[in-house]
Amino acid sequence: MIDDRVMARIEQLAGLELSPEEREALKADLTRILDYFQKLSELDTQGVPPFEPLPGQVNAWREDEPAESLAQGESLANAPEQEAGYFKVPRVFGEP
């Protein structure tokens, strides 16, 4: 079920870049875990809706009233890199 191709795809979707050793270990873990989780198919869930932790609670919305935003300095206070009031990140496109 969890072959290298699936691992590679999941890794990419998860935004991770595992070392070969980590990848092997996690592949083994996931295979075992998912095998064990097959248990769930023993249960008949035909017509059973997904769980609602807050039964009957709907429309928990708010009025369109503004509140003070963070100052620019506060927004950027934890930024690893900033420039002229922006968060700075590496190039998005292009060859490395």
Binding site: A60, R62, Q72, S75, A84, F87, V92
Partner: protein, 465 residues
């Protein structure tokens, strides 16, 4: 070969605050990262709380399009990584959107066209990315601004249909008061998909993203259709692809070939509870809605006796339509008001009315009362519109009130006749144009204020005595 076009439109809703937090939503001219908070910055521990007004505005659109509102809908997470997406997911609606179905009717060459709507839903906007040579700059001000996404069925058959459809949609959105829908400001964004169908067989779809002007939409679609037509006519297959549009160069830029279906791993948003819209709530929203443009158009025709065409023009802008009605009320005559607004005021209209409705109404009243000549009125209007001065002030200062007093006119007429005996003689001798000359003289002397019609009559009388 038939061109098949569908559109995915994102409309920025003109609410005061963002969709899930209380930061102000009017980010357009703000300094970067000054309209942000832990929620829209995606900070750990922050939670979304939906803006009720955004739901109401989206509902207005649904009602106007005749879409079926889902009594119960939910929010979902759309998961992907991008620097302008702070949580690493967008909160949107997928499994159960706010409304499905409906249509927008628009005019093309005077003919009615219909485009069916597949669905519309609410979602949050992402931040802004500025690409620089050594990296990218991220501004989160726009992050979290409420959007309505409208997905059409592929009912459009030509690039210019798409353009006219978008124009009609923009007008509708403005009339609904939910968005200014200005494409240049990013308040209305459009992704288009196009395929060519040959012999009834639907070809491969290409997607064009990030179109931000009506003209751009038309040009890009035309280019895409052209680009596809060539290989197809040679019997070649077209690759499924996604393009961006370069407005300045007028070129399609290939972004992705053979689109790998993104796995967004949608699942219901656990930080939010479902929307359950009661019939009472929906009725309340409907009642609070401004008049729909087509209802207003019909009313202009029936209430004011306007032609459908004139009504249509006045309804291009809700502010114009409002203005017209204010003037009509002030004048007491819809057709007269429409006449003035369309032929004299419209040309000066920029962001809004060039002169206040009240002042225009007053001017028209004075013309109707014969106190000001039509010519002088138009002149003063131009001055007020271009120079920005008050119409009424100008009228007073120039003393442009017409001379229509009988006594006064007689006096002026006698003066003119006395000053130009030759002309008087000519007229008596049968030269009709000599009367015009004398009228002109009086007009000169009164700087155009004489009531021309009355003056002519009086001169004629005096000369034939």
């Amino acid at each position: 070969m038939d061109v098949i076009i569908g559109l995915e439109i994102h409309v920025q809703l003109a609410t005061r605050t963002k969709l899930f937090c209380r930061c102000r939503a009017d980010y357009f001219a703000a300094e970067p990262n000054t309209l942000t908070c832990p929620v829209c910055l995606g900070m750990p521990g922050a939670l979304p709380v939906p803006n009720r007004k955004a739901v109401e505005y989206a509902l207005r659109v649904a009602f106007a399009l005749g879409s079926e509102v889902q009594p119960r809908s939910q929010f979902d997470r759309k998961n992907y990584f991008y620097p302008d997406l702070p949580k690493g997911y967008q909160i949107t609606q997928r499994a159960v959107p706010l409304a499905v179905g409906g249509e927008l009717v628009y005019l093309l060459d005077g003919e009615e066209r219909r485009v069916r709507i597949r669905e519309l839903h609410i979602e949050e906007d992402a931040g802004k990315l500025i690409h620089t040579p050594d990296g990218a700059l991220v501004d989160m001000n726009r992050c979290g601004v409420p959007l309505v996404e409208i997905v059409t069925e592929p009912d459009l058959r030509a690039p210019r249909e798409a353009r006219e459809f978008l124009r009609a949609l923009r007008t509708l959105l403005r009339h609904l008061g939910v968005s200014n829908a200005d494409m240049e400001k990013g308040e209305l964004r459009c992704d288009a998909n196009l395929s060519l169908s040959q012999d009834g067989e639907l070809g491969t779809k290409v997607e064009i993203k990030n179109l931000n002007s009506f003209r751009g939409v038309e040009r890009a679609l035309a280019k895409a259709a052209q680009a596809q037509a060539e290989p197809l006519s040679r019997g070649e297959r077209v690759m499924q692809a996604t393009y961006g549009w370069d407005e300045t160069r007028g070129e399609l830029l290939l972004q992705r070939q053979k689109e790998e279906a993104h796995d967004y791993r949608y699942f219901p948003e656990p930080d939010l509870v479902p929307l359950e819209l009661s019939p009472e709530f929906l009725a309340q929203v409907k009642e609070g809605m401004p008049e729909l443009p087509w209802a207003r158009r019909d009313r202009f025709v029936s209430q004011y006796g306007l032609s459908a065409r004139d009504a249509e023009v006045l309804l291009a802008e809700p502010t114009l339509a409002d203005y017209f009605e204010q003037v009509a009320a002030g004048v007491g005559d819809g057709r007269e008001a429409a006449n003035w607004v369309l032929s004299e005021v419209l040309r000066y209209w920029r962001e809004g009315p060039p002169v206040p409705a009240g002042e225009l109404a007053e001017l028209i009243r004075r013309v109707r009362a014969g106190r000001v000549s039509r010519t002088n009125a138009k002149q003063v209007l131009e001055e007020a519109a271009e120079g920005g001065r008050s119409l009424l002030e100008l009228l007073e200062s120039r003393a442009l009130e017409q001379v229509s007093d009988e006594e006064e006119l007689r006096r002026l007429a006698r003066e003119a006749i006395a000053a130009h005996p030759q002309a008087a003689a000519d007229f008596r001798a049968g030269k009709a144009q000599a009367l015009g000359f004398l009228v002109g003289q009086v007009m000169r002397a009164t700087r155009g204020r004489a009531d021309a019609k009355k003056l002519s009559q009086i001169l004629r009388e005096l000369l034939t005595e």
